[in-house]
């Protein structure tokens, strides 16, 4: 298993993170934004798991933290979807551009 270098895994997670970030900035659909957030979270999870495996193989705190983040992300997704449904009911749209009343 050790023939895959750490740098490669980090490269994948960095790529995932910036793909998510790109999605956050460019997409207007709130569901897509939520998916982008999930991508960014998962890139962090990959980082945690990889560092745990390569630097401290006898411990597993990093893996547990990754699991914890997955759980929190599930809860967050539930809340976010509830918000999106409510937004749709009031605005007939889930476009972020349409929900910009909260300004100066």
């Amino acid at each position: 298993m050790n023939h895959i270098p750490l740098q490669h895994i980090l490269f994948v997670s960095t790529a995932l993170f910036f793909i998510g970030m790109y999605g956050m900035f460019t997409r207007r659909n709130l569901i897509t934004l939520l998916m982008s957030v999930e991508l960014m979270l998962n890139s962090v999870n990959i980082n945690l798991a990889a560092f745990n495996k390569y630097l401290y193989p006898q411990q597993n705190a990093g893996i547990f933290l990754a699991l914890f983040i997955i759980i929190v992300a599930a809860a967050e997704a539930a809340i976010a979807i509830a918000i999106i449904i409510h937004l749709y009911r009031s605005h007939q749209s889930i476009d972020v551009e349409d929900a910009s009343e909260m300004k100066y």
């Binding site: 900035f25 972020v96 551009e97 929900a99 300004k103």
Partner: protein, 641 residues
């Protein structure tokens, strides 16, 4: 037994009226509020009479001197070892006399107002203001501390302002209220400066301590105030002059008298209470209260004397020409207060302190007959609905009680035996005769003028041609007649009180003496004044206007009040406004407002710059968030290390 409880009740009853009726002015119905206030004032008045009886008759003098009783003392403001302001209530013979005057006149005015103000709007508020005034005036006379006097001094000024402007829909009433407030406030500035100068050198504000320190020439304070000089005049003289300016403003002495005639815009009972009997004599009271200190400065006593006599004479001349019944009475008040002032001013020399007693005696008697005159005038105005004497005439048939009481009050003010004014005026004239002959001559002439203008008023109202009046109108309710009768009886009786044995200055009381040979001249002069008035005004004729033509310019000047108002207007509008007001207004508008507005504009411009960040767009916020994190990371990794 004299005790604090009576005084407290007397003080708190009017104050309670003010609070209750002021707060509940919309809830408490019309006759009830008036009766409540009137009854409580009647209780206060009877307590005052009780106190006076116990103080003067039951307790009596101790070693020939009436004791000064300190009822209460509380250190109110402690500024340090040198300056402490202590609230104290002090009862001495002067205070007891004033207590009786204030509560009795106030009770009568409350009672009279029940009929006079019936049906007026803001009836309950009117009684609340009367309560405030009575409370403040009582506080003023009971105060044992200069600072406390100043507080109540301003409070009576405020209540006077409120009551003059009672008919606040009338522009003239508003103008008069503002004029009274501004003129007296201007004078009070002098009063405050006087208090500060005197208390700075005396190192206390307590009146008894102050008098004790300053009259004893060996104390450090006395030496300091006598030696400290500014522009060649000692600090004592400056301080007293400033105090006197305050007193002169409140007591309508020339040239600060201009507010008093205009103050007649208020309801007539208010004029009777405030602008005839009580508040306007506050200046006299102040000088009397601090008389031992005033006595230390000969020049200030001269100032008091000549201001007093000039005001008395000046006002008497104007009073002869005015046609507004209340204005005549206002000028007559000013004239009589002038009497009290100069009588205080001449109180020294061989006939020690007779002037002092005479002045306060005149204050006492004047309160009764002048408030009687005003209430009588109020009854007349209530019937005629006008202040102009041209519209009146022949009223003696319609209002017999008013007629009799007005006649007696006129006789009293003219100084005819046996009414109250005779005794006090004779004492003033006697004291003046011994002290200062020129002033005495002026006082005699003024006394004759007084008789003339009062009887001019009397004959014009009650004699002369009969005016058609509405048969439905009668003299007024019983509540309007009773005060007239009570005050009329007082006017007849109070002259016989042994006043000079009660209120005096110096170690021993003075014998009250009526010198008939001396009284002959003033009585004759007053008689001449009355006969002249009868000649001119008893029957409708052209005699008065013919004689007015003879006097020509003087008459016109007097009927225009010697153009004092115009002079004031010229000074304020041509000198004060452009030379002082305008620069200050410019400074205020451009420097002070400019600074404040500049700060506002600066903050506003920052707001315009940064408010775009609050766009409401989710992705903008995300961008700021990530940019912030990136900035922090750069900072921590590359700069801070």
């Amino acid at each position: 037994m004299l005790n604090l409880t009576y005084i407290l009740i007397i003080l708190l009853l009017p104050f309670g009226n003010f609070l209750l009726l002021g707060i509940g002015s919309r809830k408490i119905s019309q006759p009830f509020s008036g009766w409540l206030a009137t009854l409580s004032l009647l209780v206060a008045a009877s307590f005052s009479l009780l106190i006076a009886y116990e103080y003067f008759v039951v307790t009596g003098p101790n070693n020939g001197i009436y004791p000064s009783i300190e009822l209460f003392r509380y250190p109110w403001l402690v500024f340090g070892t040198k300056l402490t302001i202590e609230m104290s209530w002090v009862l001495d013979s002067l205070t007891v006399m004033m207590l009786v005057v204030v509560t009795l006149i106030s009770a009568m005015v409350h009672l009279f107002s029940l009929g006079y103000m019936k049906g007026e709007g803001r009836y309950t508020t009117y009684y609340a203001f009367l309560g405030l005034f009575t409370f403040s005036m009582l506080g003023l006379i009971l105060a044992g501390n200069l600072f406390q006097i100043y507080i109540f001094w301003e409070l009576v000024g405020v209540s006077s302002f409120l009551l003059i402007g009672y008919y606040f829909t009338k522009p003239t009433a508003i103008a008069a209220a503002k004029k009274a407030f501004i003129v007296t406030r201007f004078a009070d500035l002098g009063f405050l400066m006087g208090i500060l100068i005197i208390s700075f050198y005396g190192e206390t504000l307590d009146i008894a301590t102050l008098i004790e320190r300053l009259t004893n020439t060996t104390t450090a304070q006395s030496m300091a105030i006598q030696t400290a000089q500014w522009m060649g005049i000692s600090a004592l003289t400056w301080g007293l002059a400033m105090l006197f300016i305050g007193g002169a403003g409140k007591s309508a002495m020339f040239p600060l008298h201009i507010w008093l005639p205009d103050a007649m815009e208020g309801p007539t009972p208010v004029s009777a209470l405030i602008h005839a009997a009580t508040m306007v004599v506050a200046g006299v009271y102040l000088v009397a209260r601090l008389f031992p200190v005033f006595q230390l400065s000969e020049s200030i006593l001269q100032l008091v004397t000549y201001t007093g006599i000039f005001s008395a004479f000046f006002a008497a001349i104007i009073a002869c020409t005015q046609t507004d019944i209340k204005r005549v009475l206002a000028y007559s008040t000013m004239s009589q207060i002038g009497y009290m002032m100069f009588s205080l001013g001449i109180a020294r020399g061989d006939d020690q302190y007779l002037g002092y007693t005479a002045s306060l005696f005149h204050l006492f008697t004047h309160a009764f007959f002048k408030s009687l005159l005003f209430l009588g005038a109020g009854a007349v105005i209530h019937l005629i609905h006008s202040n102009e004497i041209d519209k009146m005439g022949g009223l003696r048939k319609y209002m017999p009680i008013t007629h009799i009481s007005f006649l007696i009050a006129c006789l009293a003010i003219a100084g005819i035996f046996p009414f109250a004014g005779f005794f006090s005026k004779e004492e003033i004239l006697l004291a003046t005769y011994h002290a200062n002959r020129p002033v005495f001559v002026m006082a005699l002439i003024t006394s004759a003028l007084t008789a003339f203008y009062m009887f001019r008023l009397y004959f014009s109202i009650f004699w002369g041609k009969s005016q058609p009046t509405d048969p439905h109108h009668t003299e007024g309710t019983a509540t309007m007649k009773i005060p007239l009768i009570v005050l009329m009886l007082c006017t007849i009786v109070v002259g016989f009180l042994p006043f000079s044995a009660w209120v005096f200055q110096g170690g021993s009381p003075l014998a009250s003496h009526i010198d008939w040979k001396f009284s002959l001249i003033p009585l004759t002069l007053s008689g001449v004044g009355i006969v002249l008035a009868a000649y001119f005004y008893r029957k409708p004729s052209d005699r008065a206007s013919e004689w007015a033509l003879v006097f020509g310019g003087i008459y016109r000047a007097a009927s225009n009040k010697f153009y004092i108002d115009e002079i004031y207007r010229w000074i304020t509008q041509q000198i004060l406004f452009p030379l002082v007001g305008k620069p200050f207004a410019w400074f205020d508008k451009h420097i002070i407002d400019g600074t404040v507005n500049g700060v506002g504009t600066f903050v506003g411009s920052i707001y315009y710059f940064i408010r775009g960040m609050q766009s409401g767009k989710l992705q903008d916020y995300l961008f700021y968030f990530l940019a912030g994190i990136a900035a922090w990371m750069i900072f921590f990794f590359y700069i801070w290390k």
